[in-house]
Symmetry: C2
Subunit: 401 residues, 2 copies
């Protein structure tokens, strides 16, 4: 009996098990503070509990036996057809169901692309800052991470070009460019059209695969949507990850990769899960068929008002300092440069005492830095809690100086 | 736009993407023949559609908001508590919730253990024959597979000892012993108690991790259940994979690893899915709380009668040949040595023409062989279809000789 455990297995671990292994147990998602501006957690009040319950009953009555057994290796075909239609209507993408691989959420989609292309020591390019969750996955693959700065138009493609040329001079080649094109997480900008074209030109010239992450793209309340890198690409080098986590609920764990069909089997090769959940794939399909556009409209209104509540209260609370924060056109996050003298580590400590959770900037940096930044999610807390939490955060920041 | 695809990404693929990559797209699960004795598909008539629908409504009303957002990294704690209770009652295992990692089905559980321990070229021991799905996962990790024959008491531990000693003489060491202890898939035997003790003695002496696969253990209608390797082990070397796929429905994709707590973070390190499905984890927990024991009793009766239908009709149809088949005490499968002169490849071809699906023995062999064996699943087809399908299979076998 094994309630105690010995460590005699440890010298049997694979080399991959040792890469980037911190030994840290992830923290339980249950420990949420009152004023939670931490993770990208969807608004819980927006969850369509009743409509999902109705969709479940209808789905089970109609296709319950299929839903409870093994499914298609590439994912439920009716869900892939629904995605074809969605991307045709919203991004003018002419895809086929075979261009999609359904995954256990977007993080799983990203990991499959990373596993298919990245060996230990391979150069991999990402934005600096970039999404902390992807950094954890990337680091488990042992790449040489190269961070490219971000400005109001997204990734600085002039710096990208320099780095690609540097690599070429060294006889090396980047495997992957990872980019978050809309409301970049955490910095906030949407990549401009000319940068999108420029990035694709560089990817083609240097023959690098582009991993386009767009978990939040549907949730835009300002500005015009721009065509995706996947749509603009002419060279079959873009794989695009998406999810229903932010438009329906992260608990469904349904995401996808949209990619050239020739890439799909290479991603499937790292999928050892017996096929992405057939039951939830059907539930999500039944729900979205009837409710997608209308539900997304509701969500846009909710998150728009939450962003406004946060930026207004930031202005009230920190408008007398030289702190700078983003004002994203969509998504869940605000990125803040702390007032002069502010240190993220100290701010996080003091904010925690005020029952406020924020994420320190260092979590988002591929090559260090970020000590004077924090990220605030306005997605989860209620509008009232956002206002009170930002006031408390303002006190914590001022006390830290 | 990317409806056509180029192959310019192919020289960017990682070394791991090339290991064991066949380029074959998995076949769609939709293409089931009338008399399907192929995969380990649960009986579809047994799926508790109505009770699951009721459980879903109750779960959503009570914990819908939790169910639709990110969950605990190690898996839903109430499900892990339910498993603690289940294993205490059925296997006298004193585990804690921290001994469990919830996974996307058993195949995902197995892959996490394999990834944590197996590097390219590492010796890995398994039964010959063994489960074809695990062979695919193992081969993607590039090990040196060593098959150990199976007899009526399960894995031949005398041969295992020889192989372990061979490796020691070569200055090598096996990383993993993969074994299916109950109703071994495909061969059928349950490993005897003395072999269980012997296997654990050898694992401790040679310091090898044991991966115990028990997807079918609950479904026993004959013979006495024996203590699991996990329960018998005194050295913290056993990880045990389980699933609700066979007792509830494979479409739920809920499985687990039960292992020493010190091993769990190493498995989590290969889990890039944002946490196993919080929605279905709660649905399964709500359903099993009210129905587990009673539902398993119903399933045992169903599969018992299906095994009997298959063995009786085999006796009627092939009793006049020297074919030999197993008579498992539980599970889903019968393993058949074809009559003298029979070839699995030819039998599969002729059976397909009779609308009967069976799996050729070669699929289950780690080091070749199996050409004179086939595996028959009695789990999926109805009793009437089992009888008619076996008659058709008998004709195909006789025609092939």
């Amino acid at each position: 009996m094994q309630t105690t455990s010995t460590a005699s297995f440890e010298d049997l671990l694979s080399s991959r098990a040792r890469i980037g292994f911190t030994g840290r147990r992830p923290t339980a998602a249950g420990t949420v503070q009152r004023y939670d501006f931490g993770g990208g957690r969807p608004d819980p009040v927006s969850f369509p509990i009743e409509d999902l319950t109705t969709a479940f009953a209808q789905m089970m009555a109609e296709v319950g036996r299929e839903a409870l057994t093994y499914g298609e290796a590439q994912g439920y075909s009716a869900l892939r057809e629904l995605l074809v239609d969605k991307f045709r209507r919203h991004d003018e993408i002419e895809a086929e169901p075979d261009n999609f691989l359904i995954t256990n959420g977007s993080s799983h989609a990203l990991s499959l692309v990373i596993s298919a292309f990245v060996d230990v020591g391979d150069p991999v390019i990402c934005e600096a800052p970039t999404f902390s969750g992807t950094l954890v996955t990337l680091r488990r693959h042992g790449p040489d991470l190269i961070g490219i700065p971000v400005d109001d138009e997204g990734m600085r493609t002039d710096v990208l070009e320099e780095r690609l040329n540097d690599l070429r001079r060294q006889g090396r080649r980047a495997k992957l460019i990872y980019t978050i094109v809309n409301f970049q997480n955490p910095a906030g900008p949407t990549m401009s059209l000319r940068r999108r074209h420029e990035l694709l030109r560089l990817a083609a010239e240097h023959q690098v695969v582009v991993l386009e992450d767009d978990a939040y793209g549907e949730l835009r309340w300002e500005g015009e949507p721009l065509p995706s890198l996947y749509r603009l690409d002419q060279n079959g080098l873009v794989a695009r990850a998406g999810t229903v986590s932010k438009i329906l609920g992260a608990g469904t764990r349904i995401g996808w990769i949209l990619a050239p069909t020739a890439m799909i089997p290479h991603f499937q090769g790292f999928k050892f899960d017996g096929g992405t959940n057939p039951l939830v794939s059907r539930l999500v399909t039944y729900y979205l068929r009837g409710h997608m556009d209308e539900h997304i409209e509701d969500l846009i209104a909710i998150y728009h008002s939450k962003r406004d509540a946060m930026t207004e209260t930031l202005e009230e609370t920190l408008g007398d300092t030289d702190a700078v924060w983003s004002r994203p056109e969509g998504g869940f996050f605000i990125w803040m440069k702390l007032p002069t003298g502010g240190e993220a580590k100290r701010v996080v400590e003091l904010a925690t005492k005020e029952q406020v959770t924020v994420v320190p900037g260092m979590s988002f940096m591929p090559n260090g830095g970020g000590e004077d930044y924090i990220r605030l999610a306005f997605s989860y807390a209620s509008v009232d809690d956002i206002r009170e939490g930002v006031r408390r955060l303002g006190r914590a920041i001022k006390a830290s100086l």
